[in-house]
């Protein structure tokens, strides 16, 4: 029998693919080849969750995010709450106290006003819970079929207290890596509705604000080096971003990363890795190794931080690479995904 050895030519994308929004390497490439060169400046190039700006003597954090989640209502939350918490969280990850938000809505012709009321009410409650308010906004309507019910953009600003300096540039070998709770809930909650999967115990999104977790560390006197909230691309993507931007190595310990049993079970069934599944109410903190225990105590005392855990350490070896110590004691790469995770065949 003869064996032919053949394979196709590489595929280049000349149009936007869904994977360009997946939080993985393809999205990073798009940002680096199209967006960043066009807009480059010092604040943007820092590539943190929010930009740090000096304005009239004050230090402001400024950020924006757009919410297109489908389904718009899912176990544990909805698009309105996400649009508030997501932006509040990005501000908090810069060490800021979130204060003012803007909102832009793109509504599709035919979208029920009754649902819009529910979304807006959810946004109002979420904003009140975070101590922020909407101070400006915009509404546009597009033809039926040109939108997906409702898209929401929010932007936010907050004051950064004097002395606070948070970002990948401060991460250094020996730092402990903490996560504020179990990972992957939001992605699985949304997927379960989207795909009509049902589980014995429904998995609820972790959708929540994390600014109180951040301020607990800062006000508790922990020397916080970096904060990130893992969203698209999950915990693994955050660790990879920090390893790259901080030119540091990371070693995470698989058995120390909290994953709820229901999330782990759903991931097993679907062939997904929970470390890449989205969260919407978790925080990853980089703090000096000798302050890790105190930081964990502070986090665990805050609502939403009860499940905080130390999951790894920053190392000097292999800058830019994240390693995972497996449950068998072996070591493997925890890579940035190319695009989105796809459920497997069998």
């Amino acid at each position: 029998m003869e064996f032919e050895l053949n394979c196709p030519l590489p595929l280049r994308h000349d149009t936007i693919q869904l994977a360009h929004g997946g939080g993985g390497r393809i999205m990073r490439e798009l940002l680096e080849s199209v967006m960043l060169p066009a807009f480059s400046n010092e604040a943007l190039d820092a590539r943190h969750d929010s930009a740090l700006l000096e304005l009239g003597g004050a230090r402001l954090a400024f950020t924006t995010d757009t919410y297109v989640v489908q389904p718009r209502f899912f176990p544990g939350g909805n698009i309105g709450e996400l649009a508030v918490y997501g932006t509040v969280n990005d501000l908090a990850m810069g060490g800021a106290r979130p204060q003012y938000l803007s909102v832009g809505m793109v509504l599709e012709e035919g979208y029920p006003i009754e649902e819009l009321r529910r979304v807006v009410a959810a946004m109002r409650e979420a904003a009140a819970a975070c101590g922020v308010c909407f101070v400006t906004g915009d509404t546009k309507v597009v033809d039926r079929g040109k939108g997906d019910g409702i898209f929401i953009n929010t932007a936010g600003i907050g004051l950064v207290p004097p002395g606070v300096d948070i970002g990948p540039h401060r991460v250094k070998p020996g730092d402990a890596i903490l996560v504020s709770g179990d990972v992957g809930r939001h992605g699985i909650a949304v997927m379960s509705v989207r795909e009509g999967l049902s589980f014995e115990t429904p998995i609820e999104s972790d959708c929540a604000p994390v600014h109180r977790l951040a301020s607990a560390l800062l006000e508790g006197g922990v020397e916080v080096h970096c904060l990130r909230d893992p969203t698209r691309g999950g915990l693994a993507s955050v660790l990879n971003e920090i390893a790259t931007d901080a030119h540091a190595g990371i070693e995470a310990v698989e058995s120390d990363i909290p994953v709820a049993e229901g999330v782990a079970g759903a991931c097993e069934m679907l062939g997904l890795d929970p470390f890449y599944v989205a969260c919407e109410g978790r925080m990853v903190a980089f703090v000096p190794g000798d302050q890790a225990e105190r930081a964990l105590d502070l986090l665990r005392a805050v609502r939403g931080g009860e499940g905080a855990a130390r999951i790894g350490t920053v190392t000097a070896e292999d800058p830019g690479t994240v390693f995972l110590r497996t449950t068998l004691g072996t070591k493997r790469i925890l890579d940035l995904l190319s695009g989105e995770q796809l459920p497997r065949i069998c």
Binding site: F3, P8, R332, R344, C346
Partner: protein, 366 residues
């Protein structure tokens, strides 16, 4: 998690590694057949735990990887038609055809959907009587029963707008081809547990006898694989070539009889081309005559599409276990998950993707 944690237990795993170390006296080349097993091995670094003399070779058991490019091109052509809703398991959407993948079709306006079961497609077909719903029926014996059931049900319900694009392959003929190849270097096989859940273990006995090769049916968790490797090494050291079953919590000797009957009633054995390998006689399934009207290849006359493939990709050698992924010159440079040259770099079960994802640093080990 019950039934999983105990098979990922580090202490139990180390006991099997110790037992293998104690008993092995000379080098052995073992092939794990299934891509799911390959991923488990690389993900948990099992090959790093094993003694130098136990060498793991990654087999062809990745359905996405072996689906011929002509069929991907056909899928792309069918999916691009305006009257078609094209349904597939998620894995297949990123596999490059000659000019496009299925995600590309979707981005150009095609209705391409990910489903978790072919039976979901019947619902879609019933909900869209004005559309043609096509399911990309790929896979080994594991997915064949559900795919057969979808066609069986479609006929029973009189659904005239459902068809499947079939690319089903079978494990034993592929093992036969690997064993018959002059480049053979496999001393024993870890057979794919899930395939055997359906088919049982008996069809492996003629192979073991004819080629004097031991075969152990193995599960997918680290402890499963280490226990199966231990069983295989013990057979080799004792000079036996039996079919043994490590995955007996799921696999029975006779397999799943109703599922086998369903496969036989809807499909018949035919020759199949394997991407990167070539045509293997009797290595696949096609629809039987009475179900021919559900065959998307005849329903949509897309003719021969596509062109020649590049020769830079060595996935054929990888799929036969002749080279390891990182021994391909294109690995990690010309060929990455973002710009794959071959399907082995795309699939969740592809060996190249496993190496790239879990260990592209410090390669050059075993």
């Amino acid at each position: 998690m019950k039934f999983l944690d105990e098979y990922r237990n580090g202490d139990v795993a180390r006991q099997f590694v110790e037992a293998i170390r104690r008993e092995v006296t000379r080098p052995w080349n073992l092939m794990e057949v299934c891509g799911g097993q390959t991923h488990s091995i690389v993900r948990y670094g099992l090959d790093e735990l094993l003694p130098e003399s136990v060498h793991l070779i990654h087999g062809p058991g990745c359905p996405v990887c072996v689906t011929p490019v002509e069929l991907i091109d056909k899928a792309v052509a069918i999916a691009a038609r305006p009257e078609v809703i094209f349904c597939s398991f998620g894995d297949m959407l990123r596999v490059p055809g000659t000019a496009s993948d299925l995600f590309g079709v979707k981005s150009r306006g095609g209705d391409v959907r990910i489903v978790y079961s072919p039976l979901d497609c019947l619902k879609i077909a019933e909900d869209h009587p004005d559309k043609q719903v096509v399911f990309f029926a790929v896979g080994f014996e594991t997915t064949a029963p559900a795919n057969a059931m979808s066609v069986f049900e479609a006929r029973r319900r009189g659904l005239s707008n459902y068809s499947i694009l079939v690319s089903h392959v079978l494990v034993p003929p592929a093992l036969e081809a690997i064993l018959a190849s002059p480049q053979r270097r496999v001393d024993g096989f870890l057979a794919a547990g899930h395939v055997c859940t359906i088919m049982g273990t008996r069809e492996y006995e003629p192979l073991a006898r004819k080629h004097k090769v031991p075969i152990v049916v193995a599960g997918f968790e680290p402890v499963d694989l280490l226990q199966a490797i231990h069983m295989l090494v013990r057979q080799l050291e004792e000079g036996r070539c039996d079919v043994e079953n490590q995955y007996d919590r799921l696999v029975k000797e006779e397999g799943n009889r109703p599922a086998q009957e369903l496969i036989r009633s809807v499909f018949q054995v035919r020759d199949r081309a394997w991407r990167g390998i070539g045509v293997i006689p009797g290595s696949g399934l096609g629809l039987r005559g009475e179900y021919a009207s559900f065959d998307a290849e005849t329903r949509f006359d897309v003719g021969l599409v596509g062109g020649p493939e590049s020769t830079e990709c060595r996935s054929g050698l990888v799929l036969q276990g002749i080279i390891k992924p990182h021994e391909c010159p294109a690995f990690g440079t010309l060929c990455t998950p973002d710009h794959p040259l071959g399907a082995t770099m795309v699939s969740n079960e592809g060996a190249c993707a496993a190496y790239y994802r879990y260990r592209r640093h410090g390669l050059g080990g075993k």
